[in-house]
């Protein structure tokens, strides 16, 4: 469903690679966690997946579509919520959602049903007629989530989705992620909250200094590490 093949990215004139020849695959029906220390290359990798950055080398396939060759079709396959969703401050919440529904061609019959459903779940119905500039960080995150969910994407890509969300919204998001995968679709998300990754992810990749140092299910990672410890301990050992 999501496939990275030998992807690399270097910034500016520096010879240090932000992402260094990484490859992995996310299967249908899978929640895939992406963990790593600050500056490890998580956000750069995600930006390349969602067509915000061009890899220097390598290929990225989303639902079988090359996101560098067939850019528009690839964009239709995923939704993305960044770690700090900068949205147009002068636009009202509902105007933003209509924009998203229009550009993702959500049918008239479905758009209102889905928007009402997610507005209820994230409890921002009262605020949708207000300018986004008046929203808190958490509310912006919730609005970005609603906007990303209304076209029921094949691949749901999230960068640090739990940051800024209240406990209830965080709980609801985890539920939505699982339900999404139960439909045979995929979720890819980066996080620093290793407990969450351990509990909800079907598979996990650990990235450090631009390289994937481990990928697999929790059991596989434990087996390779030769311990029965938590992801947190394994992570600390691997990234030291």
């Amino acid at each position: 469903m999501l496939k990275l093949q030998q992807v690399s990215k270097t910034y500016g004139n520096k010879n240090i690679k932000a992402v260094d020849n990484i490859s992995f695959e996310v299967n249908p029906g899978e929640i895939f966690g992406f963990v790593g220390p600050n500056g490890a290359g998580k956000t750069t990798t995600i930006k390349m997946m969602v067509s915000l950055l061009k890899p220097d080398t390598g290929k990225i396939f989303i639902n079988g579509i090359d996101n560098q060759e067939n850019i528009l079709e690839a964009k239709k396959q995923f939704s993305y919520v960044p770690d700090n969703p900068e949205l147009f401050e002068k636009i009202k919440g509902l105007e933003y959602l209509k924009f998203m529904a229009d550009v993702y061609e959500v049918p008239t019959t479905e758009r209102q049903k889905l928007i009402e459903k997610y507005l209820d779940i994230f409890e921002i119905k009262e605020a949708v007629n207000d300018p986004i500039g008046s929203y808190s960080h958490g509310m912006k995150q919730k609005l970005a989530l609603v906007g990303a969910l209304i076209h029921n994407p094949e691949v749901f890509i999230l960068d640090e989705p739990m940051v800024g969300l209240d406990p209830k919204a965080s709980f609801e998001l985890k539920k939505i992620m699982r339900e999404h995968c139960d439909q045979g679709k995929s979720v890819f998300f980066s996080t620093h909250v290793l407990d969450v990754a351990e509990k909800i992810c079907d598979r996990i990749a650990i990235i450090n200094k631009g390289k994937i140092i481990e990928v697999g299910t929790m059991d596989e990672i434990r087996a390779k590490a030769g311990s029965h410890e938590s992801l947190e301990n394994i992570f600390l050992e691997l990234t030291e």
Binding site: N13, I71, L72, K90, K98, Y104, Q112, I115, N129, S134
Partner: protein
């Protein structure tokens, strides 16, 4: 004091992006060379204007010397420069104190509000000193050399220069802070910012008209005599303006003739300036931070019912329409964008209308123009076409279309909207802005010269078609060098070289096209000229459309 200097440095660094500039020098050579080019080309471009200004001032002084009226020279220069500082200061003060987000980051730090206010003000002042020195030093030197002044004059002149931007800016900042804290303003700050800017423009236009009426009433006279009559015949007017700038009297009394009293007058000026600065800090401490915090409470919309939400979400819309709606909303709701991209199409026709009203055209003149229009409609038609295309070039709507989105551009870059829909949506918003200018012009002109339906249709259609190459060129430039890394929307348009590039190249193109087509119309046939104009415009439009359509999706990956 050290903290004040550090804070001021921080604000200047933040507003100019110095750290990023030096970072790019070692880490991103391509970006660095772009920034360096801008840094070099802008001052070079301003050199001719500076020499023209110095020449103008020398001419003014020489003229005044002939009629023994040099006493008004310094105060006239002082008033003129103070006026410019006030006009340009409005956007600058709003930008530093209200648009910039860095204050919010500093509020929670253990820094006294007074230091933040003074540092912010100092960051404005440094640039205003450079501006004031550039304009006022030639005035001081011309007068000093002309009158054979000595060291005492030089010292007092330096003191006057030091007070020049400080006094008007202090009072202006205090006034803006007082207005922005008003309870009625809460939630309407965007609207108020637009009003501020329109007021500033009204002020500039007012002065231009005053100057214009003086020029028109003294037609066909020598340039120096004209300047002299402007000042001497309007001594009372100069005095009236002086009352708005009472400090100009102190400058004149202090510097025109050096006596012991000069020191007293200049000391009074320093005292008034210091008090004004103190007043600004006092007002800032009282009201700036409270208004800033309350200003975060944006005007809320009422809660909508499910039916209302459903009605709004409506039917499935087209991608181009979605891009267009978003672009238009941003243009109309962001004061800086509204002012830079939209207001020109309202102001320019308004200026045209008012100047025609002031011109006091005699019935013979009007009939002469109408007769000319009947005889040579093509000339008038091309004049209107040129004017309409001017709106396309100057509004710079497409030349900043991606830049205006700033850090939120990730959204329009990841959504699956085809390049053609992006082009149509973004160009359509520019065409709507331009059409507004065309409509305002046609309404204005209607009162002076009824145009035939053929002229109206021809000029509107050709005006829109002729501006398409410029609009698409703007889009092409902004697609290739968007300015996205800003924390203040002002930078997206004011610091954006794409605007200047599009404006210069666009205007050059249209002048050439109209000149060639006009010549064709004069020597061959007017309909041939219209046809050539349309064909050339369409060919360039199609060429740019194809180029952008081919490259845009890939360019969006590399912003």
């Amino acid at each position: 004091m050290k903290e004040l200097i550090n804070l001021t440095k921080l604000f200047i660094n933040d507003s100019l992006g110095l750290s990023l500039f030096f970072y790019n020098r070692t880490n991103n050579k391509k970006e660095f060379s772009k920034q360096l080019f801008t840094l070099i080309i802008v001052p070079i471009a301003l050199i001719p204007a500076f020499f023209f200004y110095v020449f103008f001032m020398i001419a003014l002084y020489t003229g005044l010397k002939v009629i023994d009226q040099t006493s008004v020279f310094l105060s006239a220069g002082y008033i003129f420069i103070s006026f410019l500082i006030i006009v340009f200061g409005i956007m600058y003060i709003l930008s530093v104190f209200y648009f910039s987000k860095n204050t919010e980051e500093l509020i929670s730090l253990p820094i006294t509000p007074r230091k933040i206010i003074i540092s912010k003000f100092a960051s404005i002042l440094i640039f205003e000193y450079a501006f004031a020195a550039l304009l006022f030093v030639p005035v001081l030197i011309i007068y000093g050399v002309g009158e054979g002044m000595g060291l005492g004059y030089a010292i007092l002149a330096l003191v006057v220069l030091l007070t020049l931007p400080l006094l008007p800016l202090s009072l202006e900042t205090a006034l803006i802070m007082l207005i922005m804290r008003s309870s009625r303003v809460k939630g309407r700050k965007d609207f108020l910012q637009i009003i501020f800017v329109f007021l500033a423009i009204a002020l500039v236009i007012g002065v231009q008209f005053w100057f214009g009426t003086q020029v028109s009433s003294s037609a066909e006279v020598d340039f120096q005599i004209l300047l002299n009559s402007l000042l001497t015949n309007n001594e009372s007017l100069l005095n009236s303006i002086g009352y708005f700038f009472p400090s100009s009297f102190l400058v004149a009394w202090g510097l025109n003739r050096l006596t012991l009293m000069s020191v007293v007058w200049i000391f009074s000026l320093v005292l008034i300036t210091t008090l004004s600065f103190g007043f600004m800090v006092f007002i800032g401490e009282r009201f700036y931070f409270t208004s800033l915090v309350s200003g975060k409470i944006a005007r809320k919309g009422r809660t909508l019912s499910g039916i209302e939400r459903g009605k709004f979400l409506g039917k499935k819309g087209h991608g181009a329409m979605a891009i267009f709606s978003m672009d238009m909303r941003l243009l109309l709701r962001t004061p800086v964008y509204f002012f830079n991209n939209v207001s020109v199409v309202i102001i320019v026709p308004l200026v045209l209308l008012v100047s025609l009203s002031f011109a006091e055209l005699s019935p013979e003149n009007i009939n002469g123009v109408r007769e000319f229009y009947r005889e040579m409609p093509m000339v008038i038609n091309f004049m209107f076409i040129g004017f309409f295309v001017f709106f396309g070039g100057t509004s710079a709507t497409t030349a900043t279309t991606f830049s205006r989105e700033g850090k939120a551009s990730w959204l329009t870059r990841i959504v699956p909207v085809s390049a053609s829909d992006q082009i149509i949506g973004r160009t359509a918003s520019a065409l709507i802005v331009q059409s507004l200018g065309i409509l305002c012009t046609l309404i204005g002109v209607y009162f002076f010269m009824p145009l035939t339906l053929t002229t109206v249709l021809l000029t509107v259609i050709m005006g829109l078609i002729g501006s398409l190459p410029i609009l698409l060129f703007g889009l092409f430039i902004d697609m290739n060098r968007p300015l996205l890394d800003w924390d203040n929307p002002q930078k997206a348009v004011k610091n954006n070289m794409n605007v200047m590039i599009t404006l210069f190249i666009g205007m050059f193109y249209v002048v050439m096209l109209i000149a060639i087509c006009g010549a064709l119309g004069y020597f061959v046939n007017q309909w041939v000229s219209y046809a050539v104009y349309i064909i050339v415009s369409l060919i360039i439009t199609i060429a740019f459309y194809k180029k952008i359509n081919k490259d845009l999706e890939k360019r969006l990956l590399a912003f």
